[in-house]
Symmetry: C2
Subunit: 374 residues, 2 copies
């Protein structure tokens, strides 16, 4: 029994106090529905007011949910036969995705039964289905994917976007990213007046591509109305710094930067492990420092920053890492819960609408026709 209202924070399962409902695609991740259900149980222990609509194979999911007492009375299972695989091309999914658990999960947000959908499936497919079913917010030309980036700021994270929704962005898109990114930072990190930097190859104003120079002017002009601070051009080395909160870039550059950081972190960790295993004194040293090494390991654990948020749609969709385990998936679900409770998507829509935009006039860039990520 589902109640349809404009504000979806009502009980998915019909009983008890007002609950925040998250729509969850249980299929399509590398570890299957067991890791997903286990992540939901973790999140339910932390958030007494959370409820779920769970999409996938009903028999399989019922059995998994029944094993988790934390989930009793909180889960509404919706059967879906199809599963979008990691190998499916987005164009195929667009044609044949109806009836899949991913489609069904998005549909619950479209029908306002839930405000946020979470999936650990195929990113490209999730984006095209989300765009098709939820549609873009007025004023948004290209949606973006935002992620947390470990940083030296007190919150521990900065926000970076776009990290891969679209391989191109013109100056108007970059302005929209600045508006959406500050709204996200405000609602998820609790920052009143986020500081925005525009990713470039140097901090000087004359540096970079023409669309970035144009974007710098648009973003500077919008800072007052948008209640953020624009700090100008920043470089890759500034992404984790405490001089900014939000980093704006196109989805090609953002995706490469994100994965380069992952690769660098991985290389560091492997050098690090080698060093502490190389000799007996080093191994003894590791024992003495064990507690701090554990804290260090947690601080640099990529699972903590799991969850790419799709911004710019009529409803929020969160992409969890495909290989997420229960801890990783719970992090994505907790993020979904926070955003839903803050009524994030309505605030984001208002924010985007507050600044005049030419992002949809289609005549601003000769890159428009090519380069769309499939």
């Amino acid at each position: 029994m589902s109640v349809r209202t404009d504000h979806p924070q009502t009980a998915a399962t019909g009983k008890g106090p007002r609950r925040t409902v998250i729509s969850v695609d249980a299929m399509g991740g590398d570890r299957g529905p067991e890791a997903v259900v286990s992540g939901l149980a973790k999140s339910a222990r932390k958030n007494p007011d959370i409820a779920f609509i769970l999409h996938g194979n009903e028999a399989e999911l019922s059995a998994l949910v029944a094993k988790r007492p934390e989930l009793a009375g909180r889960v509404d299972i919706r059967h879906a036969d199809g599963v979008v695989s990691m190998e499916d091309k987005p164009a195929q999914v667009l044609r044949n995705g109806k009836g899949s658990s991913m489609w069904s999960a998005i549909e619950a947000v479209r029908d306002r039964e839930a405000e946020v959908a979470v999936s650990c499936g195929n990113t490209g497919a999730l984006m095209v289905l989300s765009m098709m079913r939820l549609r873009k917010l007025p004023g948004v030309n290209r949606p973006a994917i935002a992620c947390y980036w470990p940083s030296k700021n007190p919150a521990g994270f900065n926000v970076m976007l776009d990290v891969g929704a679209d391989v191109r962005a013109d100056e108007h898109d970059l302005l929209q990213y600045a508006l959406m990114g500050t709204s996200y930072a405000r609602n998820s990190l609790g920052l009143k007046r986020p500081r925005v930097g525009l990713l470039n190859v140097g901090t000087e104003e004359h540096k970079g591509r023409s669309e970035i120079k144009a974007a710098a002017e648009l973003i500077a002009d919008a800072a007052g109305a948008g209640e953020f601070e624009f700090i100008g051009n920043v470089e890759g080395s500034d992404i984790p710094s405490d001089k900014l909160d939000v980093i704006v870039t196109d989805g090609f550059t953002g995706n490469v930067a994100l994965k380069t950081a992952e690769g660098t972190a991985g290389l560091f960790k492997s050098f690090f492990m080698e060093a502490f295993r190389a000799t007996l004194p080093a191994r003894i040293g590791a024992l003495f420092a064990a507690r701090q090494l554990k804290i260090l390991n947690r601080r640099t654990d990529p699972r903590r920053v799991n969850g790419g948020v799709f911004l710019g749609l009529n409803g929020t969709v969160i992409k969890s890492h495909g290989a997420a385990d229960a801890t990783g998936f719970a992090a994505a679900v907790n993020l979904a819960f926070d955003l839903a409770r803050h009524d994030f998507n309505h605030k984001l829509a208002a924010r985007v609408a507050s600044v005049p935009s030419h992002g949809q006039d289609g005549a601003t860039s000769n890159d428009e026709q090519d380069g769309k990520q499939e």
Copy 2:
């Protein structure tokens, strides 16, 4: 007394055996000529056959060189009044740079007194002066800057280009980068058949921007004649891996990736230092592991990979980090020495000429007219 020949490996200072001559801009770095001369002394101790032409303030340089017995009889000082500062815009330097130490250092390569020039001055200025005075190699449309990237390969490094010569690259430029990058890897890392990856947002063929899809085909076609292996699209996380040797990308993406890696490494190091200072047991642990921590520190020391090589010109120019100390500058000079001894630029020119190119027809991209980095 300088002898002009087609092959510049002759004695700059006129006496003794055949020497390899490196032209060095002594001014314009953050630490001044003292760090430069000290770096030359380090390099001279390692390389008995090296000689230098040193450009800058003669009085100041003579005094510094006189203090270094290793440099006796190896340094030909050329007086230059002007110094290009880090704040000078490339366009200004192009107009007013004549007579500067940077100009003079490039001129020695142009005049074939030296094959390689090294400078720790302003990157943009060094690139525009190098392009103006040395001219591009036949077949090269856009020169590139290549750098070493710490990796899991036996050599310890991969080669990445372009890391910032130009903010745009079309498919023909990316092909040239593949040819120049493999030539560099062959001559500096001693690899016979380098493996080339094209940086993209995913490994699937349908991913990415249109020029990257086109470049993938051109590079695959050139692999046979170019004696390299093309492994296709790679992601940011693959840059330090051992599945490739050369990473090809445009100068905007490459520069952001490079600086993002620096920022990530810096964040890791700061977390690391905090962990080992946080508690008494951790500090004791650090003492036990001191030797391995020192090795770890050296492995991740950015000074070891100092030296961005300008590829695609009639002569090789190496950009040392502006803040390089003696150790860092010596690393850049040693790289210059290796490349000069391998007669690198002649081999590079032959390699670029060996594959048909349309990179100079100017009609291949509508991006040609904009986006040039100033």
